[in-house]
């Protein structure tokens, strides 16, 4: 590995602008790193030829004075974004061999801004999971290991391949999608920054849908500044997504002033939960102290319906998934398993094409939407969702931003929590409420657990106020000074 792999996006942009190195060289360094770290299984498909072609085009654009926001930056694209001419699987068998004839808006925005595609990163199948163990293409391994142990840890999920590639330096950044925590939780487990924007900030067009009222794309990077740069490139109104919101995209970097004096930071008392490891609470306390020393004012707040967020989520998300995934029927794309009749063909195709967790969620969703249960389950969950959104609305009358832990534990071992779906769901206990409320959130790495694995803190903001979230995240990042490296990265320790 060359030292190019350790640069942040902002440093790399400066380096290319000064002529220290080219996009071609930067991309080659990452292609080597991708090859060197294949044991992590972070990528489903590597696209080195496309990457070099895009890098050369980038060098020409820069030479002509037309450099974009992400000009020449090699990134991993979560394999949930449709990429024209490159297989897009959502980590499923049912979409194996699917080569989109169109480009998702967000990936298109990134290419237009000059980003270079290294490959399609692995994920939990259809983005359903919190450990990246449900992919048809195998588990992703976290580049981090526990002290004195080479046991394989999960990178979190669903954006596990994206998180692992960024942590292992085989990509400068990656796209993620977050439905209930799928950007923030893997960012915390892998020691990187992950930002879920406000619902409606980034277009969902061309992103394989899981739960449409919750899904949102966002950047996964190694610094808060990089997240600001990449979000600006990804975001924007798109007439092709009727839930895309027509508001201007600010220059997020300008928000990184470091000045948070007088800002009120909400500390929700309901997020102090029984059974949370002591070091998670300690990291949280430390975060509060950092913000206080920077001149912000911590304020205890109450989000009274917090404990109902997860069960409500596990009605709403499966309900939407059961209807979104109805399109995989062996007719228009993907796998077809022949049967004795049309219905038999559908059933065999879907029975063999979907993994266990996906089937579980489709069945739960089908059940809660079925006649007789719709009101008791689905409408009840939507009412609870209103209460949760109102909790946040009320809290933001008195605070500017909210600080919480990102996840209730550091990265766990592959194989742990696997036979109990609910234990797995509890990973998202701190991330799901803001997802239900559509609010922006970021996870910032703040230190290492007693096991030597990363811990993250989460900042949540008001709708469309990613700027405050980024500003405060920048202060946390600066105070934490997180500089540890994972064991399994390109170039070794």
């Amino acid at each position: 590995m060359s030292n190019l792999n350790n640069l942040t996006i902002s440093d790399a942009l400066d380096g290319m602008e000064k002529g220290d190195f080219s996009a071609h060289e930067l991309t080659e360094a990452h292609i080597s790193a991708m090859e060197e770290t294949r044991e992590l299984n972070a990528y489903i498909v590597e696209t080195p030829e496309i990457a070099l072609e895009m890098a050369d085009a980038s060098d020409k654009k820069r030479a002509a004075g037309n450099a974009g926001l992400m000009e020449g930056i090699p990134i991993a694209m979560k394999d949930l974004f449709c990429t024209e001419g490159t297989q897009t699987t959502a980590a499923s068998r049912i979409l194996e061999g699917f080569v989109p004839t169109y480009e998702s808006t967000v990936s298109g925005n990134l290419w237009n801004a000059g980003a270079v595609m290294l490959g399609k990163s692995n994920l939990d199948q259809f983005a359903m999971g919190s450990a990246n163990i449900t992919s048809y293409y195998g588990n992703v391994i976290n580049p981090w290991q526990r002290n004195d142990s080479d046991a394989q840890l999960t990178p979190g999920g669903s954006s596990g391949g994206s998180a692992a590639s960024v942590a292992a330096r085989s990509a400068m950044a990656a796209t993620g999608t977050d439905t209930g925590g799928s950007i923030r939780q893997p960012a915390a487990f892998s020691g990187i920054v992950g930002l879920k924007p406000t619902y409606g900030r980034c277009s969902r067009w061309g992103v394989v849908a899981f739960a449409s009222s919750l899904d949102q794309a966002g950047p996964m990077t190694r610094s808060v500044r990089d997240a600001a740069i990449m979000l600006e490139a990804m975001a924007g109104y798109d007439a092709k997504d009727s839930t895309s919101v027509n508001v201007g995209v600010p220059s997020y970097q300008k928000a990184l002033t470091g000045d948070i004096r007088g800002l009120k930071v909400g500390i929700p008392k309901e997020y102090r939960m029984d059974g949370t490891p002591k070091e998670i609470d300690e990291a949280w306390e430390q975060g509060i102290e950092w913000l206080k020393s920077a001149g912000a004012e911590p304020v205890e707040i109450s989000l009274p319906h917090t404990k109902y967020a997860l069960p409500a989520y596990y009605i709403i998300a499966p309900a939407e998934c059961s209807s979104n995934l109805a399109r995989y029927d062996g007719v228009r794309y993907g796998l077809r398993v022949d049967g004795e009749s049309l219905d038999d063909m559908y059933e065999r195709t879907r029975g063999e094409g979907f993994g266990d967790e996906v089937k579980r969620r489709i069945l739960i969703g089908t059940y809660v939407l079925s006649a007789g249960y719709y009101d008791a389950y689905y409408n009840k969950a939507r009412r609870v969702r209103t209460l949760i959104a109102n909790d946040f609305k009320k809290a933001y009358e008195s605070v500017d931003v909210i600080l919480t832990p990102t996840a209730p534990s550091p990265a766990f071992g592959i194989g742990e929590k696997m036979d109990d779906p609910i234990a797995m769901y509890l990973n998202d206990v701190f991330t799901v409420p803001a997802s239900l409320a559509g609010l922006p959130g970021i996870s910032v790495p703040t230190g290492l657990s007693s096991e030597g694995t990363p811990l993250g803190l989460q900042l949540l903001g008001k709708a469309f106020d990613e700027e405050t979230v980024l500003k405060v995240a920048g202060v946390v990042e600066e105070a934490a000074g997180f500089s540890a490296f994972p064991q399994l990265m390109a170039g070794g320790k």
């Binding site: 109902y308 069960p311 065999r348 879907r350 063999e352 009840k380 939507r382 609910i422």
Partner: protein, 95 residues
């Protein structure tokens, strides 16, 4: 509320997912575990609370009802497991 094996078979049929006897057994246990956990929502009084329809307060966008896309059948059918004459092909459904 809980489900039995017959209900699981019925849901699987509605969802057009083939689930064999053994899987039906396993899924009955798993779904009941999840449904039992979801049940805690019933302790919450939601009388008079509007079910959320959209997390962002916005009016639905409207556009003119005109054709603004299309005319590329080959791209639409390119990924089909089977297609013929510009159509998706499926197993015979009428005798």
């Amino acid at each position: 509320m809980s489900v039995d094996k017959n209900t699981v078979a019925k849901i699987a049929r509605l969802a057009r997912i083939r689930v064999d006897e053994k899987q039906q057994e396993e899924l009955t246990g798993e779904l009941n575990q999840i449904l039992g956990w979801i049940e805690q929502l019933s302790e919450l009084d939601t009388e008079g609370v509007e079910p959320m329809t959209s997390v962002v307060e916005m009016t639905q966008p409207l556009r003119e009802d005109v054709v603004n896309d299309g005319y590329y059948v080959d791209r639409v059918t390119k990924n089909a497991p089977e297609s013929a004459h510009g159509f998706f092909a499926v197993p015979k459904v009428v005798e």
